[in-house]
Symmetry: C2
Subunit: 223 residues, 2 copies
């Protein structure tokens, strides 16, 4: 293993760090709004890929927000919408992210991101979270205009990193994303931060299950 | 318009008619189990299509049931699983289905089904609901090995029915399914039985919105 490639949203960045802003803007609805927003964001990414009607993740995320607010009967102003979208550029990282990346970097691993996000929003979130020094490359679905878990998304990694598929480990906290990468032939690491989560019944299970990014270095044999 | 093509599950057949059996088998969990089962059934159809790992709808439906039961910590026996799967072959129809199809048949419309379901489960549900006399043809995603809303699913209709695309109206209560058919270039009818539902933000809106299948005949001009 020469490189670890990380999913971004839900794996490095906590998408539910928008919940408190949702709650501030719509008291009593913070959790419901942020849950529905995330659910529809993923649904729209899958549906648009299947329809062959790609729209970048910024657009899909905004569409999902508009739907979710309407569906909960929340009157959302243009400025509130902009504020909530902006929060996607400043997501919190999970506590194990920085220590985990630091350890892997120290032992010489190459680290990259492969995400649904469009390049500009990924760059902004990575900078805002102070991860730039750890991340060697950022890959986006935007180059293939199809969202995860399309095999075309994962297949860009070997040529992008200029290493063999067998030397890449793909890491995600989203089990369906792990299934996609496993199905595309990569070694995969499923992060289950909350302890036991029910695995998806999609075939193509993870190669390894871990509880945190700080668990990854034990898979690297010292040289 | 010479033909109406109907989505099956959620449009003709009420997928939530399994709720009472879910409740009988798992008291207190009927609604939760049937909701999650339906949600995962659709998710798995989208994810497997995107992964290029088609499995027919019977398999996907069973996978979704297994996941949902596990996720709710319900211990499901093989016989309970078989009973629940069997209920998918005997779904109730919505009250407007038979009167609506009868009216359309009387004025000479050709009527068909286009569904995610695999052919055998569609045939069984259609027979069990006594709809065989109304339905001229049953089309399944199984012929293209990709689920809705892939354009390849809808594109089989003109050649299958041997009429022009412009003469076909596609009818579904699932808004995302309507978007798929609209995006593929068909005239579409979105059935909103519960009155107001929030439309999906997927682009490609329905051509027409109606409240029931019995509303469709007013779109046919008398010859």
């Amino acid at each position: 293993m020469k490189a670890f490639v990380f999913d971004a949203y839900g794996t490095l960045f906590d998408v539910f760090s928008v919940t408190s802003l949702c709650e501030d803007l719509f008291p009593g609805y913070g959790k419901q709004l942020s849950n529905l927003w995330r659910k529809k964001q993923l649904e729209y990414s899958w549906l648009r890929s299947l329809m062959s009607r790609y729209r970048d993740f910024w657009g899909v995320t905004e569409d999902a927000l508009v739907y979710s607010a309407k569906s909960l009967n929340l009157d959302i102003t243009a400025s509130e919408r902009a504020q909530l979208m902006d929060s996607y550029l400043h997501l919190a990282t999970f506590p194990d992210v920085k220590p985990g990346l630091e350890e892997l970097k120290k032992i010489g691993m190459r680290l990259a991101i492969l995400s649904n996000g469009e390049p500009e929003m990924l760059r902004a979130a990575t900078e805002s979270a102070d991860l730039t020094n750890f991340i060697d490359a950022i890959f986006s679905v935007d180059s293939v205009k199809e969202f995860k878990p399309s095999p075309r998304v994962y297949d860009q990694l070997p040529s992008g990193l200029k290493i063999n598929k067998q030397e890449i480990g793909f890491v995600s906290a989203n089990n369906w994303d792990v299934s996609g990468a496993s199905s595309a032939g990569f070694a995969t690491f499923w992060i289950q931060r909350s302890g036991f989560e029910t695995p998806e019944e999609l075939g193509h299970p993870p190669t390894h299950c871990v509880n945190a990014i700080t668990d990854l270095c034990r898979f690297i044999s010292p040289e």
